[in-house]
Amino acid sequence: MAVKTLAAGKAVSIMLEIVHMTVNGEEKELAVDPRESLLDTLRNRLNLTSVKRGCGVGECGACTVLIDGTAVDSCLYLTMWAEGKHILTVEGLKSPSGELNEVQQAFVDEAAVQCGFCTPGLILTGVELVNSGRKYTREELRKLISGHLCRCTGYENILNALEKVVGYH
């Protein structure tokens, strides 16, 4: 095997910048690469691995988090933009005693979870809807979750779960 090991092998040193944000209720002061996406910061620096990378370019919705209550694709959001903001991932949803949030529970009860890879993002969109205090029709819900791709469920049970928490009964 004619493979040379290169002497380089050392990272380019990047001037990190400091950012302050509240993540799942905890204040964080982090040194980050200014080119870094919030997705990478949450996964790699804070180990919040519920935030999934499905495409890296805002097509699939798997990396959705709530930023000041609004669902955002964290792969398209620079960490530096999060200065002073409140970030929520599904790791922050469980109650202190370990009980599930109502959206999480609805996903469990309605069998809205299969492979589970799109699930955290969809749950956060669900939490955004719950926080709006409104009720939604099934057709409205279809549109509101259309930024989340799921290949397992056909969306049927996801819509059932969301209707359970924000639908008209």
Binding site: C60, A111, F117, R151
Partner: protein
């Protein structure tokens, strides 16, 4: 049955809604090096040289490996059980990196660096020289004499394999025609000839193909990968590296969807190699979405030239198929998928004179086609059921009645492979689907429509075997270990890929041992150093094949527990049983018959004295197949249930001992210490068919070319359902995948063989706005082959959706769409061509 058949919540649901379930990349060490694959920018040719000198200077680059550096070993990638017969082994046609470029984006070099930025900068500095040949992405072009053979070491042309299957050896279409004229008279015999085309699509699991690898302290290259088939992956990595199998270890955590793409070996051998050449350091190889779509695997595009012979009163006499499967650049699963297209085409209808189905698999300069949900059968059924509806449309036959009269019948046995319909409900599935969609009323209401908005109903049927026996090996092992508190671990190498395998195996283990499901801990992660052998998730095999292993292991464990209980209690084993985590007195049930036992879990038609309810819709099946069976005549798959007399044929009496007390004693007894475990292999030599159908009710906007699905129903006979709620969810997902296959998904190439839409914006999988409410109906027939009466369900839901929608468009508009996907553009063009708009 007490646990199997109940809608138990998924055992992994909590972990998945909280983000605690860890997937491959979630577990990757943060200091892992990053691997970046360099892809060719031509579709056909050779790499003459790669100058890495400038690229190597980029800070952060650790290693650059080119196609000239890798071991000179060709290896196979198919996720098949290995064959010990050389003639049946998978085709070894690629190296870790290739100098011979066979598709746009072929893997020609790899860069390992500290981050993606370093790798991408280095890639831009590589100087690559190619010799380029004209490229071809279609089978028509690949078969032209001037097309360069892509694998000259294996084949002189681009034809990989051609097979011809016949319903009987002496069948001949031309002779059938002569016979038809002789028997029915020329005026009563018609012939229909048509060509249909299906497209290349991507699996689009939301978790891309990804892995990370390092060399452990014991010298083993250890690969954590998103795979459906950890044990097969271990073997293939060993083959690719030229290492012994024991020096490779594969770990499979939670997985974000596979659909067959991860039943192939993708970049994991390269990942293992890159770690080895980087001194065993941890290297992560995560594909981008673009790579994952165009450089992993796709569903075979198929062209089917079909002919059919039938009588004017609706009897199907004979059919032929001459089909071509677009293999793409590398063999992957070889000809197996094309063979599956041919087999199901031949078997799905009961031609009076016979059927011939020929398939040819052809290499082209495009994405390698491999396994994808239902393994060629969606293509097969599209060909078969477009043809059936075209005949019905031409002759004014009712497609439902025509199918009832001509579809595969009860008791069918494939003459080639011997697979038999043990439990048959194809016609009942059709009846139930037609009833739900209001077939007769709508066929009348939708006749003779004009104007810009039109409605239609359409249908399609399918059959699907379970697992790969007898074409290939079916084997599975299971291990159960008793803990000190009376709970158990269940260890398998059947994989959870989202379908709910861990949950139904938990139910099975509980059902058979008598230990409640909350005390059954299934080990979700597979580790080839620890997990007993199983070939993994494909062919809708696990609940059937692995299910038999779980059952056998559960019986073994139960017997060992009862043996220990007999010692503790000083009573004979025959007087004991396990129920609800206790050792109880076993009270045999008087008058239990084989019939009532076989009915366990299906809830249809039986009454306790073994007679059959008059309203039972399945009486004919019972009469034929079960009622007169003697226990010793039963197929072996079923015997185990009947002989499992401790549980099914007896009820629990007085509680004698808790499992907890028994287990604690067994661990720590100073008199008889015994760590109670069970481990079994089950070599499965049984098979059966699942079946079902789709009915679609749609609205076509003629001017816009849009199809709105108003009602869509899938009816499935998958035997006894193990978990109805999860089963229904599984069907929903398949139906949505079928809608994308019908209307929007296609991986496109330009004239140079470059993929055009390998991203999730332009490759259109359905969103929540594209999927209507989905209706699922199950007929639960207890299959005598299934370990718990169950048979295949994972893949079948996708099969019949696209042809049902296509046939609904035919019903609505009179226009036969013979090519998938039926996009707006294609529909508008077709309506214009027919003078409808």
């Amino acid at each position: 049955m007490e646990v199997v058949g109940k809608s138990m919540k998924r055992v992994d649901a909590f972990g998945k809604v909280t983000g605690e379930a860890k997937y491959t990349n979630d577990l990757c060490p943060k200091d892992a090096l990053i691997a970046h694959v360099v892809h060719s920018t031509i579709a056909n040719g050779e790499v003459l040289s790669i100058d890495t000198s400038e690229a190597e200077k980029v800070p952060g680059v650790v290693k650059i490996v080119t196609c000239f550096d890798v071991p000179d070993i060709q290896f196979p990638t198919a996720g098949h059980p290995w064959s010990v017969e050389a003639a049946h082994q998978d085709i070894a046609d690629r190296k870790l990196l290739n100098t011979r470029v066979r598709l746009y984006g072929d893997d020609i070099a790899a860069i390992v660096g500290v981050d993606n930025v370093a790798c991408e900068r280095a890639e831009r500095l590589l100087k690559i020289e190619y010799k380029e040949y004209p490229s071809f992405t279609t089978v028509e072009d690949a078969l032209k004499p001037e097309a360069t053979p892509l694998h000259p070491d294996l084949r002189k042309t681009n034809e990989l394999i051609h097979t011809s299957f016949k319903s009987s050896p002496d069948y001949d279409y031309e002779q059938a025609k002569e016979r038809a004229v002789r028997e029915y008279g020329a005026e009563h015999v018609r012939e229909y000839e048509q060509t249909y085309r299906t497209q290349r699509v991507s699996h689009c699991h939301i978790e891309v193909a990804t892995s990370w690898a390092y060399v452990d302290v014991n010298g083993k290259v250890t690969v954590t990968a998103s795979t459906q088939i950890p044990h097969i992956m271990r073997r293939v990595i060993a083959q690719a590296l030229g290492w012994p199998v024991g020096k490779v270890r594969v770990i499979k955590p939670y997985l974000g969807g596979g659909f067959g793409n991860k039943q192939d070996i993708l970049y994991e051998p390269l990942n293992a190699y890159l770690s080895v050449v980087c001194g065993g350091r941890c290297v992560c190889l995560e594909t981008t979405r673009e790579e994952c779509i165009s450089q992993t695997r796709v569903r075979h595009a198929v062209i089917g030239k079909t002919k059919a012979l039938y009588t004017t009163d609706g009897r199907l006499l004979a059919r032929t198929l001459d089909g071509y499967a677009n293999k793409g650049a590398y063999a992957s699963h070889g000809h197996a998928i094309a063979a599956s297209v041919a087999t199901v085409y031949k078997d799905l209808y009961n031609d009076a004179y016979g059927c011939r189905a020929d398939m040819t698999t052809v290499f082209t300069n495009s994405a390698s086609a491999g396994a994808m949900r239902a393994y060629g059968v969606p293509q097969s059924v599209f060909l078969a059921d477009c043809q059936i509806d075209d005949i019905c449309h031409r002759e004014g036959f009712d497609p439902l009645k025509f199918r009832m009269d001509n579809c595969v019948g009860k008791g069918f046995r494939d003459p080639g492979n011997g697979i038999t319909y043990y439990s048959y409900s194809m016609k009942e599935c059709m009846r139930r689907g037609a009833e739900y969609i209001h077939w007769d009323e709508k066929r009348k209401a939708y006749a003779n429509q004009t104007g810009p908005i039109r409605h239609g109903v359409g249908m399609s049927i399918f059959m699907y075997k379970v697992g790969v026996y007898p074409i290939s090996l079916e084997t599975s092992s299971a291990r159960m270990i008793l803990n000190q508190d009376g709970s158990i671990q269940v260890e398998l190498s059947a994989t959870e890929i989202g379908q709910g395998a861990d949950t139904v195996f938990t139910q099975m283990a509980s059902e058979t041992t008598g230990i409640t499901p909350d005390k059954v801990y299934i080990v979700s992660t597979q580790d080839t150093d620890l997990s007993p052998f199983d070939t993994g998730a494909y062919a809708s095999r696990q609940s059937f094949v692995t299910g038999k292993a779980v059952k056998k292991c559960g019986l073994e464990l139960r017997n060992r527990i009862l043996d220990y209980a007999a010692y503790m209690l000083g009573r004979p084993v025959e007087e004991l049983m396990i129920h609800d985590n206790n050792i109880c007195e076993r009270i045999p049930e008087e008058g239990t018959t084989i019939q009532t036992d076989l009915s366990a879990g299906n809830g249809y038609g039986y009454v306790p004295d073994g007679s059959v309810d008059e309203n039972d819709r399945y009486q004919d099946w019972l009469d034929a197949d079960v009622k007169h069976w003697n226990i010793d005549d039963l197929p072996s798959g079923r015997k185990s249930i009947l002989r499992d007399t401790g549980k099914i044929l007896a009820k629990p009496g007085k509680v004698l001992l808790s499992m907890k007390d028994l287990a604690e004693n067994a661990f720590y007894s100073l008199d008889r210490s015994e760590h109670i475990t069970a481990e079994v292999t089950n070599h499965c030599k049984e098979n059966t068919y699942a079946s079902g159908c789709t009915f679609a009710d749609i609205t076509v906007d003629m001017e816009m070319g849009t199809v709105k699905i108003d009602h869509l129903v899938n009816v499935h006979d998958s035997g006894t359902l193990l978990n109805p709620q999860l089963a229904e969810a599984q069907v929903h997902g398949g139906m949505a995948m079928g809608i994308g296959y019908a209307l929007s998904e296609e991986l496109l190439y330009n004239e140079k063989g470059r993929p055009l839409n390998n991203n999730l914006l332009d490759f259109k999988i359905p969103t929540a706005l594209d999927v209507p409410d989905l209706k699922v109906i199950f007929l639960q027939m207890d299959d005598p082959m299934g370990p718990y009466g169950n048979k295949a369900l994972g893949e079948p839901p996708v099969i019949s959706v696209a042809p049902a929608i296509r046939n609904a468009i035919l019903n609505a508009t009179g226009v036969a769409m013979n090519e998938l996907p039926m996009t707006q553009q294609r529909l508008v063009a077709a309506f214009q061509q027919h003078g409808l708009i």
